[in-house]
């Protein structure tokens, strides 16, 4: 029995090996589930993109090799397939961020903290997008309205604000990767998540744990 459990242990560990790809998968899922824009993973992404480029170049070179055997061709195909699948994840990750950036473009332009979480290219896109949307509203509606009504930033009472902000109270499913520091919901309600624990709670409470990498969203 003892030997069996000893044999089981390493399997569990190898599953949790932290390759760049598995890291990206985690960031990708987090990004897809979080209502807010999470910090950009520029280093990870650029190292993966470099890897993809080198891999593709190598594949191109090998494909041109006339002496390659049947078996090698199959291997090359497998590599190509894998590259395509990684590209898919990268693309989905980038596009998820892009979608949120367009949605919150006007908010991003007014808020300094959120700007620290996005890349320069994303920031440029947000700025372009905010201007573009403003201009469209202006051309199709606002310019025809009387002067007093032609602003995009009124804040009348009882009406939701005109700038879309991330909804930080949206509930998310959280999976604890490590034992976490206690979360304080209000005065006498706290939750201490142990490793492996899964829970549903508003996003704002786990934001800091997510940033530390103690939890993941599922």
């Amino acid at each position: 029995m003892a030997s069996a459990s000893a044999r089981v242990a390493p399997i569990v560990e190898t599953q949790e090996e932290d390759t760049p790809l598995s890291q990206l998968c985690r960031y990708w899922l987090n990004e897809r589930h979080a209502p807010d824009i999470l910090p950009a993973q520029e280093e990870l992404l650029s190292s993966l993109l470099d890897h993809i480029r080198r891999q593709s170049e190598a594949v191109q070179l090998l494909r041109g090799e006339p002496s390659a055997s049947e078996e090698e061709h199959i291997r090359i195909m497998l590599v190509q397939m894998e590259v395509e699948r990684v590209k898919f994840i990268v693309r989905s990750y980038v596009r998820t961020r892009l979608f949120k950036i367009e949605k919150f473009a006007r908010f991003i332009m007014t808020d300094a903290t959120i700007q620290t979480r996005i890349t320069t290219a994303e920031r440029a896109h947000a700025s372009r997008h905010a201007h573009l949307t403003d201009r469209h509203f202006h051309n199709s509606v606002l310019q025809s309205l009387p002067e007093t009504q032609s602003h995009l930033d009124d804040a009348p009472v009882f009406v939701p604000p005109m700038i879309t902000k991330p909804d930080e109270n949206r509930p998310v499913f959280v999976h604890a990767l490590n034992d976490c520091a206690p979360i304080r919901f209000h005065e006498d309600l706290t939750l201490e998540m142990k490793r492996g624990h899964i829970s549903l709670m508003p996003f704002s409470f786990i934001q800091s744990l997510l940033a530390k990498g103690d939890v993941e969203l599922i």
Binding site: I52, E84, K87, F88, V90, V94, E122, H136, S140
Partner: protein
């Protein structure tokens, strides 16, 4: 005010109902220019009435509060209608893999857009292209993200002359009636530099979006 028995906000409600219908039926409706114009006219009339209240010497009557609320609501509905439409247009844009000429050359779609919306799409396209150029050495971010790739090669049947297309693997001359195995890079990466004229572009993007149009995906046998 006018003699008809319309209530305040009726027009705006109609406009918002149109957006809702568009979402529920998942179609892009024609830009309702006349309704937008009459709403804008209503806004101007309301503004004038409100001003006449404000300039009189007496204390403003309670009706002013109602007028202001209607003005705010109408304006919000107008903006919501336009915002909803550009959201839909962006969805449409991504659904065809960022192939703008494909949308704009489609008469059916084109007739539903307002001139400002066409401008919007053009500028949006150039903004996305600028963002895309960040990644152009490795991958094309405008390609399909609904299904992960399952196969490297796809068999296609060309039903319309497309001309020569540059793919990652070199150039292919697509002619009507031919069949190719090599299209996967086209489908997944959409890395193509088409030759003019625009009609060729349109049939290429049909491949890219997998919309069965100029080029249909044949059953692999």
């Amino acid at each position: 005010m006018s003699s008809d028995t319309r209530q305040f906000g009726d027009l705006a409600t109609q406009l918002v109902m149109e957006s809702r219908r568009s979402t529920q039926t998942d179609t892009l409706l024609k830009y309702n220019d006349s309704l937008v114009r009459s709403l804008i006219r209503e806004q101007r009339d309301l503004e004038k009435t409100a001003e006449s209240f404000e300039t009189s010497d007496r204390d403003p009557p309670p009706a002013l509060l109602i007028l202001q609320t209607v003005v705010i609501r109408n304006k919000r509905c107008l903006l919501a209608y336009h915002a909803h439409r550009i959201d839909r247009l962006r969805d449409l844009y991504w659904a065809v893999g960022g192939a703008l000429p494909h949308i704009l050359s489609n008469q059916d779609i084109r007739s539903k857009l307002s001139p400002h919306e066409v401008d919007y799409l053009r500028e949006y396209n150039s903004s996305v292209m600028e963002f895309r150029s960040e990644f152009s050495h490795e991958l094309d971010i405008t390609a399909n993200i609904t299904n992960p790739p399952k196969d490297l090669h796809v068999l296609v049947h060309v039903v319309k002359d497309c001309g020569v297309i540059q793919t990652e693997l070199g150039s292919i001359d697509f002619q009507k009636g031919q069949r190719f195995m090599d299209l996967a890079p086209l489908l997944f990466n959409a890395w193509l530099i088409p030759l003019p004229p625009v009609s060729q572009w349109a049939c290429l993007t049909a491949v890219q979006s997998e919309a069965v149009g100029a080029v249909v995906l044949a059953e692999s046998t």
